[in-house]
Symmetry: C2
Subunit: 215 residues, 2 copies
DNA sequence: CGCTGAGTTGAAATAGCTCAACTCCTGTGG
DNA sequence: CCACAGGAGTTGAGCTATTTCAACTCAGCG
């Protein structure tokens, strides 16, 4: 299931920019684990502790309700670190969304409490709370606009956006159905704001108008 | 605007139980600042750093959109600590929802990085992400059930729940309108699950049925 | 005792959901 | 290299939960 890798598709242009702090390279092991798309990294209830640094690819972190409804609480892209938990056991599931290269780190003890870990944890909290505003208080188009601009920024502010996840993932991240995602992307396309190069690649034609949609 | 206090209404029965870790008493100053209801504690953009420990009362932490839509990202009750930020400046607003007693602490430097602060920050992140599931993926009744059970637990699992906030606050916390909050509370009352003793006090008549609603 | 803000209830409007049909990739095997 | 199968995405039509707008009640307070 694992293999050591040095190349893959879906590589992000700009590691280090993104959400959670990137860490000094020497503290991460050399070895990169290559995981296929849709591979489980950890599951709710498992013992927590291990942190992960994404070399390339993307990861969804999510939670489930009993009846299968799913909320993706975060996507993590190349250059980002994830796996922080408050407890000894995982509160969430983590899976790759595309072929992904990971470095793993056993932080020994959280109480060692490196400042960078603290910073990353705090950033994770703020990101989650900002996401709450989007999910709770914005309309479908607004949600998509925020999502796309966030992705664009994390990929180095190209007007070409790579979507390393399905419409289903996006829907479960933004709290809406796959059909609503699709319809509203089409709407943004019809308005001349986006061009849908392929289902996994979007070109932003009018960034200002997209930005205006975020409020 | 401030005064030193030793008593107030809306005191929570069970400090220390709640969301963010309570800290060793000696690290907090003796002095309690008394704030009236709806008093600003800090605003978005202000310099961050200060942490707050709630002696009694309640606080809402929220974010605004340009057009005034509001998302309450967290309520904090007696015994809880709040004020963590990832940045040098505040990402959120914090206000009292009722008359509240606070102790303030300048943590000098976050990089000192006490393990308890790390733990509290991580719990904050997990709470926010769990809240995301509720806001993004649950129906109005389900949201209210989760909200009430959470409040009950934090108040010591009485079947009497004190609501130290308005319907507006609740709606902005759960991502719904004040009318939907009201209608669904009435519905739970009509179903015999709740008794609305007053607009700020709810008695849970059938906890199991309420729990079942959460999925 | 009446005023005011909070909460409740009703009716109509609507954004997003559900169900269903259809298209379009993509990748696999002949 | 092509054909075809299956999954992912799109589009349509009708439905429904929630919102919006409005009227009304109630509790607390000067």
């Amino acid at each position: 299931m694992y293999a050591t890798a040095q190349s893959s598709t879906h590589r992000s242009a700009n590691p280090g920019l993104a959400g959670l702090a990137s860490r000094p390279a020497q503290s991460w092991p050399r070895r990169i684990e290559l995981l296929a798309a849709d591979t489980e990294i950890y599951a709710q209830g498992e013992r927590s502790g291990t942190l992960y640094h994404i070399e390339f690819g993307a990861v969804r972190v999510y939670r489930l309700l009993a009846d299968g409804r799913r909320q993706v609480v975060a996507f993590h892209l190349a250059g980002e670190t994830f796996g922080f938990e408050a407890d000894r056991s995982r509160s969430f599931f983590a899976e790759t969304t595309v072929e992904t290269g990971l470095r793993m780190m056993e932080p020994g003890d959280y109480d060692q409490c490196a400042p960078e870990l603290m910073a990353a944890a705090l950033r994770g909290m703020v990101r989650a709370q900002e996401h709450l505003l989007v999910v709770g208080r914005q309309s479908a188009v607004e949600k998509l606009a925020v999502f796309l601009l966030d992705l664009a920024k994390r990929q180095g502010d190209n007007d070409q956006i790579d979507l390393p996840m399905t419409r289903n993932d996006i829907g479960d991240y933004l709290g809406m159905t796959i059909e609503t995602v699709s319809r509203n992307l089409s709407r943004l396309r019809d308005d001349g704001i986006l061009r849908l190069r392929s289902s996994r690649c979007i070109e932003v034609l009018q960034p200002e108008r997209l930005r205006k949609l975020c409020q």
